[in-house]
């Protein structure tokens, strides 16, 4: 297992480096640099040139890359020229919001997906299974943003059960119960829309995993031992099919990222996704770079985490 994990880590590092190079190159291709946002356009070119030299902007690209990576490692993503403040500060509060949104969405996903997948796998080709299949069928075809819009329309505007924007009602004191409740209320609708749509693939995955396992020979062995159907199901089929699901959530991070970009935009939720779209539109590229780098790294580390979990729960990898 350790060998596997180390090997997996060895693959991860180049991925991270490649990601940073990619983003750095993108940054180079982007119009403007660290100075663009800072300087007054009326200052004469010579002074600007001086500044550039001082900030190291005239160095060859690889030195710039090393400077940049050095900064990133210390948590310095540069300055936002839109907000005239360090990107790190800008991201800080947003990232907390997005984190909670993702966690909530993930919890919803598992609450919905695991039971549905189990039911539809165990009772495959019954009415129960078909109705769940109906849900996955619609869910697969519905783009997240349309679904979120409809939810917002119905539950936000029409019934007004949930707030239609923001992450917390204004004027509440942090730390109070009301504040927490308000935050939760703001999370539910966006998280639910991500969960209901993203769940679809998890349900299908679990279902087919169970249906596959059902046809394995060792299930017949278990029956031949005299195990009852429910024991066969719980001890042999379910245990074996849930295993890959346990490791699935790391991979869901990539899906969550996509989800938050749409959902935060639609529910005006002040998170990383919204920040990303805003910054791209306002050409605030230092922020864009930071967000892409963080999300990209999260996705890479998520995949790593999944594989490590899998290697720990599966004896075929654990014992070699």
């Amino acid at each position: 297992m350790w060998k596997f994990i180390v090997r997996r880590l060895v693959i991860t590092f180049p991925q991270l480096i490649l990601l940073s190079v990619l983003i750095f190159l993108l940054a180079q291709a982007m119009p403007g640099d660290a100075l663009t946002g800072l300087v007054d356009p009326n200052i004469d070119p010579e002074t600007i040139e001086e500044q550039r030299e001082k900030l190291g902007l005239n160095k060859p690209w690889y030195e710039k890359y090393i400077d940049w990576v050095g900064g990133v490692v210390q948590g310095d993503f540069g300055q936002s020229f839109r907000y005239k403040m360090p990107v790190t500060d800008l991201i800080e509060e947003r990232i907390v919001n997005t984190f909670w949104l993702s966690v909530t969405a993930l919890i919803f996903t598992y609450i919905i997906a695991v039971p549905l997948g189990m039911i539809s796998g165990r009772y495959n080709d019954t009415i129960l299974d078909s109705s769940i299949a109906g849900y996955t069928y619609i869910g697969f075809a519905t783009p997240l943003f349309i679904f979120a819009l409809v939810l917002l329309w119905i539950f936000g505007f029409h019934f007004q059960w949930f707030p239609t924007g923001g992450s917390v009602a204004p004027g509440l004191e942090p730390g109070t119960l009301e504040y927490v409740m308000s935050r939760i209320q703001h999370l539910i609708l966006p998280a639910l829309s991500i969960a209901i749509i993203q769940t679809v693939s998890t349900v299908q995955y679990l279902r087919s995993e169970i249906v596959d396992t059902k046809q394995k020979d060792f299930v017949i062995t278990a029956r031949a031992k005299g195990a009852s159907e429910s024991r066969v199901y719980n001890r042999h089929i379910l245990r074996n099919s849930l295993l890959p699901i346990a490791a699935f959530f790391g991979y869901e991070i990539t899906m969550l990222i996509t989800g938050t970009i749409f959902v935060e935009q639609i529910f005006s939720f002040p998170g990383m996704g919204q920040l990303f779209i805003e910054s791209v539109l306002q050409r605030d590229f230092s922020v864009v770079n930071a967000v892409v780098l963080l999300f990209g790294a999260a996705a890479i580390l998520g995949a790593l985490l999944s594989d490590i979990i899998l290697s720990m729960v599966d004896p075929r990898i654990r014992i070699k």
Binding site: L144, L149, I261, V288
Partner: protein, 301 residues
């Protein structure tokens, strides 16, 4: 039992493989839902491309400040948007554009993915190892973000540029699938036999192996078409799809980010939403029916 099962299975596999395309077709026609979907798709395609041929696109996207946000009427079947532009016209043009981009991207990413997958799977070993690391990297990246970043920094942004960017980040799924199938396929004796008969690698890959996975390619590309239409409309919705002058289904939906429009002017966004749903369901129905046809196990239930 095992032996018998394997034997009949391999016999069945061979049977459906050999006349794969024909079976795909009969299965598609037998599946009522898929047949209806297919007919509907054809009607939409013919209608949309036909009408947009006669329709004057410039006329539609021209801003008319005297007829802003008009509800459906005789003059404007589906009303007008914030620029007084005819929503119905935009819907037609948008559907056409979304479909076109869907077809182009699906085709391009299909070609790249199939070649990549076949090469990696067939040669295996070091080549496969390297190619798969590349693929892993691309696949783990957040697709939407990178497309958005690229779209925003490309200098003269056109539909071609958009298709290429889109394609660059969407070939991995099919490549992985084809590769795993090619890995299995190349172990089969008919590939070994071709090698001993002096057939070149190139011929073996494209003349021997590829025909045997053609149904998988067709199925995957059909299903990809659906998801590409969805992704394109999502990008347009966020404002990073087509250039402003070319409407897409997502563009119409993006008007709904305005709460006023979302709440009170359904005619602007609901038709586009319904159109996307219909397109995606129809394409998926066809794709799923094709997949059922190729997947003998699923057919047995």
């Amino acid at each position: 039992m095992e032996l018998d099962k394997k034997e009949t299975q391999s016999q069945q596999n061979m049977e459906h493989n050999s006349t794969g395309l024909r079976i795909l077709w009969t299965e598609l026609v037998r599946d009522k839902l898929a047949l209806v979907s297919l007919i509907m798709l054809i009607v939409i395609v013919v209608f949309v491309y036909g009408i947009s041929f006669v329709m004057d696109q410039d006329e539609i996207v021209k801003v008319d400040l005297f007829s802003i946000h008009e509800p459906p009427s005789k003059e404007f079947i589906l009303g007008t948007d914030y620029g007084g532009r005819d929503v119905f016209g935009q819907l037609i043009i948008g559907t056409r554009n979304s479909l076109s981009i869907g077809f182009i991207v699906t085709f391009l990413s299909g070609v790249i993915g199939v070649i990549f997958g076949l090469v990696a799977g067939y040669f295996g070993g070091h080549i496969d190892n390297i190619l798969m690391r590349v693929l892993d990297f691309f696949q783990v990246l957040p697709f939407i973000m990178l497309v958005i970043v690229f779209v925003s920094i490309v200098p003269n942004y056109t539909i071609v540029a958009f298709s290429l960017i889109f394609t660059a980040f969407s070939w991995m799924g099919i490549a992985r699938l084809i590769r795993s199938k090619a890995l299995q396929e190349k172990e089969l004796d008919y590939v070994q036999a071709s090698k001993t008969l002096g057939t070149s690698h190139f011929k073996i890959i494209f003349r021997e192996v590829m025909p045997n996975i053609s149904s998988l390619i067709i199925v995957t590309m059909t299903l990809n078409l659906a998801s590409n239409i969805g992704l394109e409309s999502g990008l347009s919705f966020l404002g990073f799809g087509f250039p402003e002058s070319t409407p897409s289904l997502g563009t119409l939906l993006s008007y709904a980010t305005n709460p006023q429009t979302l709440e009170n002017r359904w005619w602007i966004w609901v038709p586009a939403a319904v159109m996307i749903l219909v397109l995606m369901l129809a394409v998926r129905n066809v794709g799923e029916a094709l997949r059922r046809a190729t997947d003998a196990r699923q057919r047995k239930g």
